[in-house]
């Protein structure tokens, strides 16, 4: 089985070194009127370059821009769409990280690119494959507020977000993205909404052109949905194993026709996993992956870790792969 190393999505936008403080300092100075928007963009560019350099150093096959410019995974996208204003802070799932909630009060439309320019910038700075990452329509809808809340509203919002995101998927494919990841953690907590979620996935998949589409799930047990996910029109599934003790056995017994991104490295805890234990787990899982292709990846974005630990986790991906290759072949 081919096993590539991939970053998941976010990467710390701060570090304890003076250079690591660049973006935080620039934003603070901008609030005092001592820096401009252009200065913030330059700081974001620099921090993105640093994130890419650290992924490069770790030897990853697939990198991301680290979502350095993102205020959070929700408002960064929703805030660029029409019909939405951004409101107060809410906890992001079970993390200690807070996002600003979108309030939908008009027609949701995409009148400007969401992350295409960010993707292009990252691609211009590395020779490695850059994965474009979006938050999916169901998760955006679930974490938004509409005037008349409830299941019907979530459905309408998910449909509207899906329309806008499908355009972004097409634009990313046109810009040369070969791998597009769509994060849908919210569906793990609301399995009854699978139909709504699936409609959104189909809308995005219809626009992916020659790009591969990967769905990412984290912060919950994906095992109960695993069989249904196999029938979706996507190329790959990125799975968080840290919440799913039964998942390896399920992959072995049910198999996977999709490429799997194995989120075996815990993106929420600093402890480094035992490489030999993970290598054995990959060996076991590999027998179920009929596509013959997998990624080894953190379980979620790495922004929840301090920078030095995030860097160690990335390097650990290579250690685990080497151990796997030494044992498996």
């Amino acid at each position: 089985m081919e096993l590539k190393l991939a970053n998941h999505s976010s990467y710390p936008r701060i570090g304890d070194s003076p250079e690591g403080q660049l973006l935080r300092r620039t934003i603070a100075l901008k609030e005092k009127g001592e820096k401009t928007d252009a200065d913030i963009r330059a700081a974001e560019d620099r921090m993105t370059e640093l994130a890419l350099a650290e992924q490069d150093e770790a030897g990853l096959d697939v990198v991301t821009d680290g979502q350095i410019r993102w205020y959070d995974p929700i408002s960064h996208l929703a805030g660029k769409l029409t019909g939405i204003h951004i409101n107060g802070l809410l906890r992001f799932f079970d993390t200690n990280f807070y996002f600003r909630q979108p309030v939908v009060d008009g027609k949701i439309e995409r009148r400007q690119p969401l992350i295409v320019d960010e993707f292009k910038f990252a691609r211009s700075k590395t020779s490695r494959t850059v994965k474009a990452v979006l938050t999916g329509p169901y998760t955006l809808a679930r974490l938004s507020l509409a005037k008349d809340a409830g299941a019907v509203q979530v459905g309408k919002l998910a449909e509207a977000y899906a329309g806008a995101l499908a355009e972004e998927v097409a634009a990313l494919a046109d810009a040369g993205a070969t791998l597009i990841q769509v994060d849908e953690p919210a569906i793990l907590k609301h399995a009854d909404d699978f139909g709504l979620f699936e409609s959104g996935v189909r809308a995005l998949a219809a626009q992916k052109k020659s790009a591969q589409l990967m769905l990412a799930f984290y912060f919950g047990d994906v095992a109960p949905l695993y069989s249904k996910l196999q029938s979706l029109p996507v190329d790959a599934l990125c799975l968080d194993f840290t919440y799913s003790p039964k998942l390896p056995a399920m992959i072995v017994s049910e198999g996977s026709s999709k490429i799997l991104a194995l989120g075996l490295i815990d993106g929420r805890n600093t402890r480094l996993e035992k490489a030999d234990v993970l290598a054995r787990e990959i060996e076991e899982i590999a027998s179920g992956i009929k596509s013959g292709s997998a990624y080894l990846t953190p379980s979620c974005g790495l922004e929840y870790l301090p920078r030095d630990r995030a860097q160690l986790k990335l390097k650990h991906l290579a250690t685990v792969r080497n151990t796997f290759l030494g044992k498996g072949q």
Binding site: I14, D16, F99, P306
Partner: protein, 330 residues
């Protein structure tokens, strides 16, 4: 029943006793001292002198406002988890992680077995209590929250880390009880985030409090109570200190369905707003509480710690809290 427990402890409180959740804003001179200490410009003794001065300021201020159960205001604490992780062996200070937007904090890492090394808050409690005849609450962060807000490299899983912390935090509670503290608050704000772990948080609290002779409160905030009520009533504490006004008193609807069975410290003012509530608004919130929960079970306080408000705002919010409670006592 809890009122009887208080009487046995020698504490006689009026109907609708007033208190606060724990933290008060640090006066400017203390903020300056903390910054100078961090830069190495003043000694720890000089910093502690400023902390004592600020503690005395808040004790006097609470007496002036006629608050019934006082707090030391946590003048010596930065963050509610980092403070305990700095004093319990087994932790390392981690690097910065983002809280939101451009805000970051140092998240502690449990790197080896946790171990209580001796009293952490006891001297501060004794100092605060020496300044007043009114009861001062002992204040701690609970094991579930310390675990949830730290990385864990030392224990096999979250539960093992949580229970190990519970055993050590119990020693601090014992030390507070031995020093004379009769009302002890053990904050567990992280409790409502993972409903499936509620039994773990409850068991951890049992480890901390079982068999110790004090009146226990716990403060839980950050919403999602619908996921843990009424199961949370199994917490072995006498009083839940809850953020009520921030959520439009939504929890009262839950209490109508499943009766609330403990004492409550009912949050009547929003700590996230600069606006000082008018007294009739606060009184109305209390009346709504009294329509659902027996009057003798209700304590009155702000939603949460007031440390993010200015000193003047915090005083004004405490003042209207006390006035409203007094107005409804008779």
């Amino acid at each position: 029943m809890s009122r009887e427990k208080l009487r046995q402890l020698g504490i006689d409180l009026p109907i609708l006793p007033t208190t606060s959740v724990g933290s008060f804003p640090k006066p400017d001179y203390l903020m300056k001292a903390r910054s100078e200490f961090a830069k190495g410009k003043i000694t720890r003794e000089q910093l502690e002198e400023a902390e004592r001065r600020a503690t005395e300021f808040w004790i006097r201020k609470q007496e002036e406002l006629d608050v019934d159960v006082l707090v030391d205001g946590e003048m010596y604490r930065g963050d509610m988890v980092a403070y305990f992780s700095e004093h319990i062996a087994g932790f390392e200070q981690g690097g910065l992680v983002r809280s939101y937007g451009n805000r970051y904090y140092h998240k502690p890492i449990i790197t080896s077995e946790v171990r209580w090394q001796g009293p952490i808050t006891v001297d501060w409690w004794k100092y605060a209590q020496s300044l007043t005849k009114r009861p001062v609450k002992g204040m701690l962060t609970g094991p579930y929250t310390v675990m949830d807000w730290s990385f864990n490299e030392a224990y096999p899983d979250r539960k093992a880390a949580c229970f190990a912390l519970a055993g050590e935090i119990r020693k601090e509670v014992q030390a507070l009880v031995e020093a004379g503290a009769k009302i002890i608050q053990i904050d567990e704000p992280a409790t409502s985030v993972r409903p499936e772990e509620l039994p773990m948080a409850i068991e951890a609290m049992r480890i901390v409090t079982e068999g110790l002779n004090a009146y226990f409160l716990t403060h839980i905030c950050y919403g999602a109570f619908e996921n843990i009520y009424p199961q949370m009533l199994k917490f072995p504490v006498d009083n839940f200190d809850l953020e009520m006004s921030n959520s439009g008193l939504d929890m009262l609807d839950l209490f109508k369905k499943d009766p609330y069975t403990k004492d409550i410290s009912f949050g009547v003012v929003d700590v996230h707003s600069h606006v000082i509530e008018e007294e009739p608004v606060v009184e109305q919130r209390l009346r709504e509480a009294m329509a659902v929960i027996p009057k003798e079970n209700i304590w009155v306080d702000p939603d949460c710690g007031l440390k993010t408000r200015s000193v003047d705002e915090a005083i004004a919010k405490m003042k209207v809290t006390v006035q409203a409670a007094k107005a409804l006592r008779n």
